[in-house]
Subunit: 454 residues, 3 copies
Amino acid sequence: MSGVSNLRDKIDAPAIGHECHSFIAELFPICRSITGNGLRETLARIGKHIPLNIHEVPSGTQVFDWTVPREWNIRDAYVKNARGEKLIDFQKSNLHVVNYSVPVSARMPLSELKKHLFSSPEYPDRIPYRTSYYNETWGFCVSQRQMERLEDGEYEVRIDSTLENGSLTYGEFLLTGASEDEILISCHACHPSLCNDNLSGVALATFLAKSLMGCQPRYSYRFLFIPGTIGSITWLARNERNVHRIKHGLVLSCVGDRGKLSYKNSRQGNAEIDRAALHVLKHSGQDFNVADFSPYGNDERQYCSPGFDLPVGRLSRTPDGQFPEYHTSADDLSFVDASSLGDSFSKCVAMFEVLEENRVYVNQNPKCEPQLGKRGLYRTFGGYGDSQTRELAMLWVLNQSDGKNSLLDIAERSGLSFAAVSQAAEALQGSGLLRECEPAGERARAAAREMVRG
Amino acid sequence: MSGVSNLRDKIDAPAIGHECHSFIAELFPICRSITGNGLRETLARIGKHIPLNIHEVPSGTQVFDWTVPREWNIRDAYVKNARGEKLIDFQKSNLHVVNYSVPVSARMPLSELKKHLFSSPEYPDRIPYRTSYYNETWGFCVSQRQMERLEDGEYEVRIDSTLENGSLTYGEFLLTGASEDEILISCHACHPSLCNDNLSGVALATFLAKSLMGCQPRYSYRFLFIPGTIGSITWLARNERNVHRIKHGLVLSCVGDRGKLSYKNSRQGNAEIDRAALHVLKHSGQDFNVADFSPYGNDERQYCSPGFDLPVGRLSRTPDGQFPEYHTSADDLSFVDASSLGDSFSKCVAMFEVLEENRVYVNQNPKCEPQLGKRGLYRTFGGYGDSQTRELAMLWVLNQSDGKNSLLDIAERSGLSFAAVSQAAEALQGSGLLRECEPAGERARAAAREMVRG
Amino acid sequence: MSGVSNLRDKIDAPAIGHECHSFIAELFPICRSITGNGLRETLARIGKHIPLNIHEVPSGTQVFDWTVPREWNIRDAYVKNARGEKLIDFQKSNLHVVNYSVPVSARMPLSELKKHLFSSPEYPDRIPYRTSYYNETWGFCVSQRQMERLEDGEYEVRIDSTLENGSLTYGEFLLTGASEDEILISCHACHPSLCNDNLSGVALATFLAKSLMGCQPRYSYRFLFIPGTIGSITWLARNERNVHRIKHGLVLSCVGDRGKLSYKNSRQGNAEIDRAALHVLKHSGQDFNVADFSPYGNDERQYCSPGFDLPVGRLSRTPDGQFPEYHTSADDLSFVDASSLGDSFSKCVAMFEVLEENRVYVNQNPKCEPQLGKRGLYRTFGGYGDSQTRELAMLWVLNQSDGKNSLLDIAERSGLSFAAVSQAAEALQGSGLLRECEPAGERARAAAREMVRG
């Protein structure tokens, strides 16, 4: 059993869920954006848990069709009425300022101010979240009730921000496994005080990385904490030559709410990660949803662009845009839930286990069944599930292991859980009845090494 | 946007429906058959709308396994009782005479006459339609009520017909498009006073041809107005060397009744025409039916015979044999409906649009998404549907255009309408983000031309 | 029409069902096991119906991973109480002794005896069936009521059995057809007084063989009457070089109860036998079940092991383990039913007919339809079903016979019964409109013969 299987066996999901929730609470007040010190501060705090590499990419750098934007920082912002009362105050919620607002310091009548105010009449108590990354402007977001309370008169408007050459920051951690083949875990870390979208993803990725560090996994795991869209584009532009190592990937987004789990297939649609996710969700006994790929959503849009077409899916609970708290001040600490975060953690580890353990074997005794009894395998070995399931799993593995079917194929055809099938394979391999097929890629590399030596 | 897209945009379906219905009314009284002057007269009237080529194929010509039959013409026919009263009169309905009846002029008792009378007890007021093309005989068709009114006694029977060497006539119109590749539209024009089967098909084909004439389409469109079975066999026998140009085809039959649209797949079952038809019907918002291919029906039987296996489907409303008015005098002018004819017309044009516009593109910026905003494509271009659909359609086209997926593939995967996808592709091509793949066939032809020159 | 088609036409299913039931009654009292005289006696009685070859394989012979066990024979067995009354008596039911019990002759108290007694509290009147082939021990099986009646005291226990070097016996009959290609029919014949499992299979195989003997079939039919598991392993080990001749196969097990028919697919899942079985069951008008392959069940586990992967399915009514009478004294003569046995017989013959007649043809007149009328094929030939079905079947066969589709493919696509399609093909072949494709294998053999001569 691999380290990841051991990890799955030992998960204390409620405890991990609470750790995630506390970390979200720690990060919540920071005003993040796609560049700037809020993002830097966030990455620094992640770096206290895992050895994160921080990359700084200068403003103006060309990344494929895009340009790294100027860096945005903000110290304060408010709107005061004629009596000098702060009616809108950045210090109370960083959502009040349209993200990437240019500096402004002016007096204006309500009619003029209103052109720069955004509210959401549908949910009159919530402050909406707005950005304007690629169009220089400024604005404030307020609840509908705040909006309605504003009286005619002159207002003092101040946004103490800077938009200057600087850099785009992202964090990266490569956990080196036995193989150079990688599993990519990506989350966006650019939203200000919003919890499900996407501090939940940030916290989950952090604690997944931390837990895997003790596991000596077969795959290498690459964790990316990046600003949405421009971050994944920047990373891909700088790492184009190595993306072939990514064999599987997951974008983590909105993984902390109380909704059921939802997996979105990669563009390939039937990649191993897609099948692993489906298997884990199907055997979870919980309600779940699997959606087809669409080029709308998070950074999977970039990983799955046709020039890369990486096998990267997305795990969410309620996906972005599908819960009414989305992109409003209601996506707060009460909206995310320790138990849901713990469950998301467990499912990720279960998916990693499938990927780690999914091998192709060849039955060494392919003509008729081997006599399990004389090897002590018949109704006499311990471990997962009851003895009848164990025996059935061994018969399935023996019957299907012709060098073509992987353990996941066998789990799918048999209807058994991957863990049952994988444990049966381990027992059979221990008895010499099964031999692992060397993967084609490794055979090729071995041959290449031979050639260099020869 | 192509001429056919423009045509689809501008269709005045009710007006076209009325034109079709008027043309059906004009053709209704003519006594057609698989040869003869009734068919010639019909083709002459079609020829007033479109530049029809009339072909005459001599009786006795071998066409594959068949022989062009002798030509049948009829001037008059009746049955008189002893008092000289015309009880059955060809002048009142040409359905009264069994089509292809040999001439007869005789007196006989009712008992003898009855061997040559056909009625339909199930629908006692309807005259059934009967033919005897390949078995020389004669007969009269009457309503059951007429039949029952016949009293014992002597009858004068006269059919003033000729069955002599002559020719089989059919009409053909090739509307030349930008390409030699053809779309075949075929309808049978051999039935006497019957409207849905198949003056509806004749009228629809006529007005489709007329409308497409102003469109400068990409494909060439070949329209055939032929007698059923022997007509398509004759045409195929005479055009065997050029049928490879037919890339898509539709048989039009029973397209004027008030039933829902019904498409019958080609033998290939997943040909582009089959997929285009399904797409158009699915996105119509109307109830519809798609049937698997079967070797029973109209001229698709010949086009889809295994030696040709052309991608030819059939469009109907209620298919032949599935409405009780079928092959009776109740298939009259009241049974076909201008609005249904107009709807059939619209759907044909929509299918042609899919075929015309269905291209394969390559995303010129395949690594990550291009920045639509800086090209003015983001929430800022006009045309079809709302802006979110437009943006989504662009993202789908960019994501899927890897040189393998056609626009129809993309429409199917995305669930968007073909028009939305096609318009997105046009916008992206306009911005240089998309390049059309030269079709394999055209590449081969270009190479061949080079060789000839070289 | 082939001999097997004639057989299907003439089946007197009730009569065959009664013959099967009588034969089961004749074999019922014999105490069979996986070796020994009970099995020999059973094969001798089968041999009165068909020319069976009896094979004896010495104990200790290595067969793949297994060893042929020592031969077990038993003369008598009982348990007497202190008063000398036989409370458990092998002569009353051979199920009372655990099959393969070593000899024992001892006195012991009830507490000691009970360690060797097996009963089934769930069904207190039934004697369970138990074996211990690969673990030397002894035991008695009793009904729960018998168990409860046993009083404290001393018991005399005697099993007069032998477990010595000898041989494993099985019966084999090869009915030679026109081709060397074989259809395998296999049943296990090792169970003592149990009827559905599997005297029903033994009787059905016997009468299938007997009936096919007069048929001059195209395929050769190989019938195996073997002990379960070790028998099929032994046969495969001794016939490894010839198993490539097996093109289709059926394991017959539990085919006599009143349940609906149930077919279990081969490991291949879409083998011709799988499709033939599905076709026959689908067109039977009766309820049925088709199960996916699983490596659990009868001898199909060996035939479908990955080193052989033979296209062998399994036909049952209620499969083993799925009826409560399974492996108890309630699986007796009243549990199997003549009418069910007759029905199982009919379905096997219908499946064989599909396999026998399933050929690939080429339409000799592939361009347009041939004129059926001038060949007298149009609404004028007799035989199966009504004339419209006949005509439709001819059109389907002509349309689909392009050298790729078999008659079973055509039956599946058209929805017509295989018999209708096959009869249409016969009529068309008779008119010269169809030519059979020589199978690839026969072409290769003919070429090889040429080479040898040349």
